[in-house]
Amino acid sequence: MDSGEPTLLSVEQLTKRFILGGGLSRVRLVAVGKASFRMGVAGPEIFTLAGESGSGKTTLARMVLGFIEPTSGRILYKGRDVTRIRGRASRLQFMKGVQGIFQDPFDTFNPLKRIETYLRETALNYSMAATGREAERVVGDALAAVGLSLDEIKGRYPHELSGGQAQRASVARALITHPSLLVADEPVSMVDASLRMSIVNLFRKFKDERGISVLYITHDLATAYYVSDRIAVMLRGTIIEIGSVDQVLREPLHPYTRLLRDSVPEPDPRSKWTEEIALGALEIKEYAQSGCKFAGRCSREIAVCRAAEPPEVEVGGRMVKCHLYQGAESAASRDAGS
C-alpha cells in the first residue's frame, strides 16, 4: 500500500450499524457488515455493487462519498482515510476527486435555480474557474462530454428538462471537478428504457477517454454486465461474491448470485422461465440471522450454514463467501460448469 501509486479506492472491513427504534423496541441493524473491496488497482475500472433493495449498497455508497460515518472499518481514497479528513482544504480536495450521481436527477438540482446557474456556481465553488466567463467554459466542456449543449440548458429550470436530459445534466455536474472516481447510485433506474443505454455508455466513455473509475451501484444485472469490469454482489449487508463480471454473472458460484442471475428475465421470448422458484421469508429475519444470511432460502444448505459465518474463499481469482467452497477449489470449479 505504501509503495508506488496508492490504490484509488480501498474499502477495508467497513461496517455500519443503525439503531432502529428506541427504549424496549430497540433493534440493531447491520446495514453493511465487514465489506472489503478495492477499486482501480490496475488502472481505471468500472466496478459494480449489485444487490436487491435492503442489501446495504446505498449505505455503502454514502459512506464512500463521506455522507455518513462508518461504525468501524476504513475507506482509503488514494491511500488516505476518508473518515479522518479534517480541514476545509483537504475536504475540498477529496470532494473534487470523488463525485456522486444519484437516482433522481431532479433531486440533484435546486428546483428554484436555473440549471446553468447551478452548474456555474459548482465550478466557482470548487475553484475550477476564477471568473464567470471561465466558469461558462468549464460548464460547456462538461455538458459537451455528456452530449448536451449549453443552448439546450440555457435559461431552463430542472422541471423543464426531460428525465434523460436531467440525468445527463447531473452527470455533467459531477464532471465539473474532473473527478477520478464517480459513485453512481442507481443512475438509470428512473430513465426511460429507450434512453438508458445512452447514460450507461457515458460511463464507458469516461473510463476510456478520461481515465475515470466508476462505482456503479445497481440492482440491474444486465446493465451491470454491459458496463462493468468487476462486480461485487451484496446480500443483507454482506458482500458474498466479488470477481470479474464474466466470472460472476456467467458462472456464478454463490447460490444467491445464481438465484439473482436466474431471476433476471431474458429479453427473448425463446428463453422463458420454466422452473418455479421459492420466495423468501420476511427480510428483517434475514438481517438478524446468524451464520449465512441466505441459509433460509438456499437449496444447498448444509449443517454449518446457520451456525457459523461463511469464510471468504478464493476460487479462481474471485472471492466467494460460502461454506460450500471451503478448501475445495477443484470441487468449486467443477460446480461452476454445471
Binding site: H219, A222, L249, V264
Partner: protein, 329 residues
C-alpha cells in the same frame, strides 16, 4: 368475437389553465383486439399513454381525462357491450367478477390501519354474501393456492414486504376468477427475485383460471416472458402490434427496433445505442409521424402525414411509412 375490441379510441386530458385550454393527447386513435385466454402486453416508455389507455379500458378514469371518441367493446356473452356507455351501476356489476383492474403501485392499496383479512372483507363483501367463516375459508384457500401463507390475513400491510403485498393484491383481484385482469406495472419497483415470483403468479393464474390478462409494463424482458401478443405504444399511439416472438425477432418500426436492440443482456458486451433525442410531450406533439424527429430513416412523407396502423403480414401491424403503407394513397 374477441373478448375486447377497441375502436379508434381517443382520450385526452383537458387542461384549462388561466383560460388557456390545452389537450394532452394521452390516447390518440388506438385500435386493438384482445382474444380470450391470451396475455396481451402493452409496452412503452413513461408518458406514452399506456396507463391512461388501461384506465379507459377499465372505465376507471375521471376528469381531466375524458374520452373524445371511440368505443371499448367487451364480449359479455350478449353480443358486445360498449363499456363507455354503461352506468355506474352497470360497471359495478362488471368489476371484480368480469374484469379486475390492478393499478400501478397497487401494493399500496391495502388499508394501513386494518388487517389484511378485513381489507379482503371490505372489498369482497360488496360483491358476494355468505357467512364470515365460509368467506374466510374461501379466501384462505385462494391465498394458499397462490403460495401465500395464511398468516398474511392476520397481518397489517406494513408487516409484509412489497413483493408480498403485491401478491396479496393480485390474490384480492382474482378471488372471483374474473375473465379479464388489467394489470398496470405489476412487477415494477420489486426486486428481481420477487419480480420473478409475481410473474410466476400471473402465469399460474392465467393457466388455471383461463382468463385474459392485459399486462402493461415498460419492461420488455417481462413481456418476453409472459405476453402472447405485444403492442408497442409511442406518444399516445400504437406503433406496432404482433405476436411477442415477432416483435422481438422481426421488429419493423424503427422505434421498436431501437427498443429491442438497446436491451442489455448478460453475456453480451456489444455496443448498444439508444434512440437519439427524447420522447415528445403529449401536450405538444410533432406533426406527421410522432417518431420522425428521432428517426434516422425519416422521409419527407413522415413529416407531413401520419402513418396508419396496417397489416404488414397477417397479424403483424405496423404504423410506419417504411412498411406496407403503399396501399394508402
Amino acid at each position: 368475437m374477441p373478448l375486447l375490441r377497441v375502436e379508434n379510441l381517443k382520450a385526452y386530458y383537458l387542461v384549462d389553465l388561466y383560460g388557456i385550454k390545452r389537450a394532452v393527447r394521452a390516447v390518440d386513435g388506438v385500435s386493438l383486439q384482445v382474444e380470450e385466454n391470451t396475455i396481451f402486453g402493452i409496452a412503452g416508455e413513461s408518458g406514452c399513454g399506456k396507463t391512461s389507455l388501461i384506465k379507459v379500458l377499465s372505465a376507471t378514469f375521471a376528469p381531466p381525462l375524458s374520452v373524445q371518441e371511440g368505443k371499448v367493446i367487451y364480449d359479455l356473452g350478449t353480443g358486445g357491450t360498449d363499456i363507455l356507455s354503461l352506468t355506474e351501476e352497470g360497471l359495478r356489476k362488471l368489476r371484480w367478477e368480469f374484469l379486475s383492474y390492478v393499478p400501478q403501485g397497487s401494493m399500496n392499496v391495502l388499508n394501513p390501519v386494518r388487517r389484511v383479512r378485513n381489507t379482503f372483507r371490505d372489498f369482497v363483501g360488496a360483491h358476494r354474501v355468505g357467512t364470515t367463516p365460509q368467506f374466510l375459508a374461501a379466501v384462505t384457500e385462494h391465498l394458499g393456492h397462490l403460495g401465500l401463507p395464511p398468516e398474511v390475513l392476520a397481518s397489517y400491510p406494513h408487516q409484509l414486504s412489497g413483493g408480498m403485498r403485491q401478491r396479496v393484491t393480485l390474490a384480492l383481484a382474482t378471488i372471483f376468477k374474473p375473465r379479464l385482469i388489467l394489470a398496470d406495472e405489476p412487477t415494477t419497483a420489486l426486486d428481481v427475485v420477487v419480480q420473478r415470483g409475481v410473474a410466476q403468479l400471473l402465469k399460474k393464474l392465467h393457466a388455471e383460471q383461463r382468463n385474459t390478462i392485459i399486462l402493461v409494463t415498460h419492461d420488455m424482458a417481462v413481456h418476453a416472458n409472459l405476453a402472447d401478443r405485444l403492442a408497442i405504444m409511442y406518444a399516445g399511439k400504437i406503433v406496432e402490434e404482433a405476436p411477442t416472438a415477432e416483435v422481438f425477432g422481426n421488429p419493423l418500426h424503427p422505434y421498436t427496433s431501437f427498443l429491442i436492440r438497446s436491451l442489455p443482456r448478460i453475456g453480451d458486451k456489444t455496443y448498444k445505442v439508444s434512440a437519439p433525442g427524447s420522447p415528445p410531450s403529449l401536450a405538444n406533439l410533432p406533426g406527421g409521424c410522432r417518431f420522425h424527429p428521432r428517426c434516422p430513416q425519416a422521409m419527407d412523407v413522415c413529416r407531413k402525414e401520419e402513418p396508419g396502423l396496417l397489416d404488414v403480414t397477417p397479424g403483424h401491424h405496423v404504423a410506419c411509412f417504411l412498411h406496407g403503407q403503399a396501399r394508402r394513397g
